[in-house]
Amino acid sequence: AQSVAQPEDQVNVAEGNPLTVKCTYSVSGNPYLFWYVQYPNRGLQFLLKYITGDNLVKGSYGFEAEFNKSQTSFHLKKPSALVSDSALYFCAVILGGYNKLIFGAGTRLAVHP
């Protein structure tokens, strides 16, 4: 079965420090990978995606993610965290030829001043 794992329920980071939110996937075939963010009482906002090409993709708000095929991972990173980055982050995968996103459980990021 296709699945996405976000092993950490919550990540705590001090403002100004680098952050990483982890994501691994288990799918057959070639996946397309996405990160979305949900701010409190808001909808899902698209951050970035990996389709093909360069394994390091850059997205909104200074976030980036690295696709690692051998480790089946797609970790989200940012060099310097802001308090305003505090939100719920979702990793998702879609298989080529399909249009159904499979989401991870989400990771709550808390950035402390």
């Binding site: 979305y36 899902l44 979702f90 249009n99 459980a105």
Partner: protein, 115 residues
């Protein structure tokens, strides 16, 4: 350009009542999706429209849920009768074209509470 819009943003209904959620996709997007996140669990796919046709409705939980997209524009999702376990947030999303890698854009969600 307007994003995906959903109405109502919040709804509180009693068990057994009916609720209809509406979604207006981004203009020109043929693909329209419904997802939901209940009780703090994972976001789950409900169904996918291509224009007015149901492409995939494998995620619809039971026959109390009915989705329509007449004319291939806006969509409605009706829950009748609502049960307590239906409480959660219902997201509508849309995307352009057939390529699976096209970005899927989500709305703000309709937050449903069944009491």
């Amino acid at each position: 350009e307007a994003g995906v819009t959903q109405f109502p943003s919040h709804s509180v209904i009693e068990k057994g009542q009916t609720v209809t959620l509406r979604c207006d996709p981004i203009s020109g997007h043929d693909n329209l999706y419904w997802y939901r996140r209940v009780m703090g669990k994972e976001i789950k796919f409900l169904l996918h429209f291509v224009k007015e046709s149901k492409q995939d409705e494998s995620g619809m939980p039971n026959n109390r849920f009915l989705a329509e997209r007449t004319g291939g524009t806006y969509s409605t999702l009706k829950v009748q009768p609502a049960e307590l376990e239906d409480s959660g947030v219902y997201f509508c999303a849309s995307s352009q074209g057939q390529f699976s890698g096209n970005t899927i854009y989500f709305g703000e969600g309709s937050w449903l509470t069944v009491v």
